[in-house]
Symmetry: C2
Subunit: 248 residues, 2 copies
């Protein structure tokens, strides 16, 4: 199965940009009348017929819309401080998208070595991984914000978790598995710090804002591996349960 991304959906048509059109028409040699599966990146799959096979601006007619296609039973937000090496963060964006995530928020922490982050490349990677892993909704990668601002802005009702490395006898940590198993909702936020960890002040603010401290197991993990481990914990906790084998 091959998915295409429409930058615009209107008037019963899906409009592909130059890159998607070229891939569809030049590389895969689709012709007018071919069936196409097109996502809008917001959660809907459109079953389409290719109408205008322009290699720069292809247009497909919508035959059927499937809202919520490939959607998962948990909304996961990962707030993560980008790594010094951009590729490591972008790799995590790809992998977290594959196993399922709603939002990956780049955060700047007190101890972040990377104080500036441009999300454009990560957004393109998220789009590509969304299509590759057969989902209709592209994870959001918002502009970077400070850890402290992100903590204050968190929504009500979500399970809020913070993973950090330093010892804090006043806040004993259980495993992320245990917290996920005890939670019956479907909104999870996980905070992952930079290479130098969160500052004690950031952890204090997070705990005051309702974040629960968790650990990610016995290994010392790199920042990007920690973020992916959290995504995997959610994948195993939520997504396996709802699996209709062989449906996709």
């Amino acid at each position: 199965m091959e998915l295409f991304y429409a930058y615009e959906v209107s008037g019963g048509r899906c409009y592909l940009d130059a890159e998607e059109s070229g891939h569809c028409v030049r590389v895969l040699r689709h012709r007018a009348g071919d069936a196409l599966d097109v996502i809008d990146g917001l959660g809907t799959l459109y079953r389409c017929t290719l109408e205008d096979p322009s290699p720069k601006a292809a247009v497909a007619r919508i035959e059927k819309a499937e809202p919520g296609w490939g959607a998962r039973p948990c909304r996961l937000t990962i707030g993560c401080c980008p790594t010094k090496n951009n590729e490591r963060f972008e790799w995590m964006v790809e992998k977290a998208t594959e196993v399922g995530v709603e939002c990956i928020a780049p955060l700047i922490g007190d101890r972040s070595e990377r104080k500036v982050y441009k999300p454009e490349r990560a957004r393109r990677i998220a789009l590509s991984a969304t299509k590759q892993s057969l989902k209709a909704r592209i994870p959001e990668v918002p502009e970077p914000q400070r850890v402290k601002d992100f903590i204050q802005a968190g929504p009500e009702g979500a399970l809020k978790l913070i993973a950090y490395c330093f010892e804090d006898p006043s806040a004993p940590r259980v495993s992320i598995q245990e917290e996920l198993e005890a939670y019956e909702g479907a909104d999870v936020i996980v905070l992952i710090g930079p290479e130098g960890d969160f500052s004690p002040e950031e952890v204090r603010l997070a705990l005051a804002a309702g974040y629960k401290p968790v650990h990610l197991g016995p290994s010392r993990l790199r920042t990007e591996t920690a973020a992916l481990t959290a995504a995997m914990a959610v994948y195993f906790r939520y997504f396996f349960l709802h699996l209709s084998f062989g449906k996709q």
Copy 2:
């Protein structure tokens, strides 16, 4: 905590190669008499005192040996067909090492686009990730072998799993989680195919050799993500249980 790797341990001494010595003496500026933690890559941590701070051939005297340091309660072997893009496979080697794996065997399948694989770089990455994630045993990355040969050579008593994508009504698949939870041993082998999947003949041979077919959840995962997802399933199944919080 910083670990060094000794290429040789003998006569109560750990011997560091030029790269480790340079890092120890030039970069971290260790001096004679400093305490050093040195691994042999085979599973033992040596608590040492730096004796000869040569930046090309440092020697440390062993004060205490801790066999099995950082060892995990499950021996996981991943047999995985290297990806067309070497970096993707090497990335998986790094991440699987971080969460814990004993052996990553590069395999050549009937449908492998990559027919040749040189494991030297992956071995260096495995060493680096072993030190970074605080383990004493470096995962083995053997020379590549054919999928069919690997299947025939599997050990007795292990839980043998094969993940593939095509539909096979004669062999319904359960999730890797379910198979791991039903297994009480500590030797797990997981087979992950190339981009083009295993051939039906390879799957048939594997099933005949006692491999159980599993799925890795509802997402369509890239080869390297599938291999890491298997490693994560083992990490969550085995390693969290034995966690003494705050010990490391």
